[in-house]
């Protein structure tokens, strides 16, 4: 292609009176020349039309000489003496023999499958190339990770998932299909608006790498909420956690910088928007925490440590951490007295996590200027701690589901992920304890964590 504009001129009779070399050469190859009628049929017709209409015409031009097809854009400007011709975007393509396209498929391509998926990794194409085994039936519309069991690379990463997050090309994604090892590579696809529309790539048959493993790997975990992504894989959880936490932290920090107008004053509504972004970012970060926890505690064999703990001490620590938040709403928290001890057995940080969740919920859903109580007690061999508030309470139906995963009791605000109480109860049970709720509408809520009691000394 040439960026140069190729010029020419015809007179009123359509005779080419001058022309730059490429145009003149074409004219000569068509059996004509300077001082003779324009011999390139398409160009001649356009020129005649422009002259007849007496207005500028800009059109794609196609013509050919004896060894190439020429595609270009032509502008013809008629005037009283004829017309000026300007040709740009001149692209000459060598002619290919007709068999070329057909022969191309005989070109050796590595054995494997070509595939394409949409932006949600649902397969829209899967074809065998070369002497590869046929593709599995019923692949249409299924998740890429259902057909190809994804394997982490040496660093525990999943290249396809990283590429999905980055909307970029990837390679080196190890997979297995019906026991056969393959390697996926793919290019990201975008439409004309720049929207990511999926991947298109190739699954090549991997060379056998040493002896086959003795035990057949377990099939990929399929979670009804998350499809077949390997949520049960701790490596995956760590990677997703790391991949999300960094960008989210940067978003929050930047949004807070803008919101705080640290670099100078900005319009108030822009500062408010930035504050909203920071708030949403913190919410997402909380969700990442919850998902990481969820992934951890739902792992088969999850066990909490059995530390010697004091529920009174943990209650005071929780109040110390969330006291400021309560003060913002004018909420008073009544914590156990400093000498109020309640020895128990459980994992220190997990119990604190449960208490922070209960106390955080109590602050979030309590009216301004109300009160929250934390009380420790012992009932037989159980040590208990209760968090009570003066919120609107929870009716019996809601109590039955409040510990369900993703249950937010119909709330749609950005306050939580709906995972906190589910995780809290799972943690309580993992420590041989229990988490219960006692409430009535308008009467506030009382959440009680009970753990195995421990006799001091």
């Amino acid at each position: 292609m040439t960026d140069r504009v190729i010029c020419g001129r015809i007179d009123r009779a359509g005779v080419l009176v001058n022309a730059d070399t490429p145009l003149l050469r074409l004219q000569q190859r068509a059996g004509s020349g300077l001082g003779k009628p324009l011999a390139l049929p398409h160009l001649a017709r356009l020129a005649a039309l422009a002259q007849r209409l007496q207005r500028d015409i800009s059109r794609p031009l196609r013509t050919a000489d004896d060894h190439s097809d020429v595609h270009a854009l032509v502008r013809i400007a008629p005037d009283a003496d004829g017309a000026s011709i300007e040709i740009s975007d001149w692209r000459a393509r060598a002619m290919t023999p007709p068999e070329m396209a057909a022969a191309a498929e005989d070109t050796a391509l590595a054995d494997g499958w070509t595939w394409e998926c949409d932006q949600q990794l649902r397969l829209v194409a899967l074809r065998a190339a070369g002497s590869t085994p046929p593709v599995p039936p019923g692949w249409e519309g299924r998740s890429l990770s259902e057909i190809f069991e994804l394997r982490p690379d040496g660093d525990g990463r999943f290249p396809v998932l990283r590429a999905l997050a980055r909307q970029a090309r990837f390679d080196g994604q190890s997979v297995s299909v019906a026991g056969a090892a393959m390697t996926l590579a793919g290019d990201a696809l975008f439409d004309a608006t720049g929207r990511f529309t999926g991947f298109r790539g190739f699954a090549s048959v991997s060379e056998p790498a040493g002896p086959a493993p003795e035990a057949k790997p377990a099939p990929a975990f399929v979670d009804p909420a998350f499809g077949s992504l390997p949520l049960s894989d701790p490596q995956f959880g760590r990677r997703i956690d790391g991949a999300l936490r960094g960008p989210l932290s940067r978003i929050i920090a930047t949004a807070e910088t803008i919101s705080g107008q640290f670099d100078g004053p900005i319009r108030a509504d822009y500062a408010r928007y930035a504050g909203d972004i920071a708030h949403a970012g913190r919410h997402l970060l909380g969700l990442v925490d919850d998902l990481a926890d969820l992934q951890n505690i739902e792992r088969p064999g999850f066990k909490a440590a059995r530390d010697d703990i004091d529920l009174g001490d943990l209650a005071r620590r929780a109040v110390g951490l969330l006291g400021m938040k309560a003060e913002e709403k004018g909420i008073r928290i009544s914590a156990p007295a400093a000498d109020d001890r309640m020895p128990a057995t459980g994992e220190f940080r997990r119990v604190l996590q449960v208490l922070l969740n209960l106390l955080g919920n109590a602050i979030r859903y309590s009216p301004d200027h109300s009160q929250i109580w934390l009380r420790v007690d012992r009932q037989g061999d159980r040590a208990t701690i209760t968090v009570a508030d003066q919120g609107q309470g929870i009716d019996a139906d809601q109590q039955a589901v409040v510990f369900e995963k993703f249950e937010r009791l119909g709330r749609t605000d950005s306050g939580g992920s709906g995972l906190g109480l589910y995780i809290a109860r799972r943690l309580a049970r993992a420590m041989d304890g229990e988490l219960t709720v006692d409430s009535a509408p308008g009467q506030g809520a009382r959440f009680t964590l009970s753990l195995p009691a421990r006799d001091d000394g």
Binding site: R45, A101, E105, G194, F196
Partner: protein, 302 residues
Amino acid sequence: MSESLSFSGAEPPSPTLSARLSELAGFFAAPAAGRLTEEQRALSLGIARRLIAEVAMRIDPAIDSGALWQAWLRSGIPGGTRLAGACFARAEEHRWRRQSAERVIAVPLPSETPDEAAPADASMTARERAYLDLRIADRRRFDAYGQPMLAIADLDGDLFRALLHDVAAWRLAAVSVDTGRAADLGEAVRQAIERQADEPGMTAAAIAYHDALDGALPDAAREAIAAHDWPALIALAAAVQQRRYADMALALLTAEPSALPSLLAPLHLDAEALAPLEASLAMLPARAVSDFDVGAGPEGGR
């Protein structure tokens, strides 16, 4: 044409000479008409070859489709006239989409909704499912190497039947004439015809997508144009006018710019929405359209 020619020798004209004279006669008949470019010729020929290989495989996987193709290249492709329209339409659509894709600048933009790039979710809306099926049907029209092909499901029934018979006849002539083999081939042809009826093609997928839109047709068409998602646009236009996908594709690709609004009138698109489509078609070189006044030859203005 042949009646106007006389050859001094006793030998009949060679196929090459005959083809060239036919081509020249066609040129004389319409000197001002644009000719096939080599790219168009190659694409159409490749599509025909892949189609014939696919038809042969459906009759009998043991058929050497390479040998079949070579034989037909020498003797002429049976039913070439019938095949030409289908292959040309597919080739032109491919050329258009390839050119359009080359002009797309892949600028990754953050998704507007956070779950857009989420992994597959079992809960798809009817519209999403129908669009996914349309994409699947579309990608069936490419071979494993990304070359365009005609999916059997999209073929006109008569054309498919004729091709099956032609391939079966070649196979029978090539291997044997025993009646048992003829019966087997006949059965294979019958089964292939039945199988075609059950396969979802672009036309069926287009109707399903159109039906799933539930009143959002103009918006979907506008989005398809903005995204240069030409298969979706063709599908919607075909479904709303109850035409076959291939017919609609050819109608669109050969439409005068001024005819686009009326051709796509059922989609209720305004001129602004149509502009990217018109621009994209205008940039396609060697389109089979008289994009100028055909009566205005070089001498017309004198």
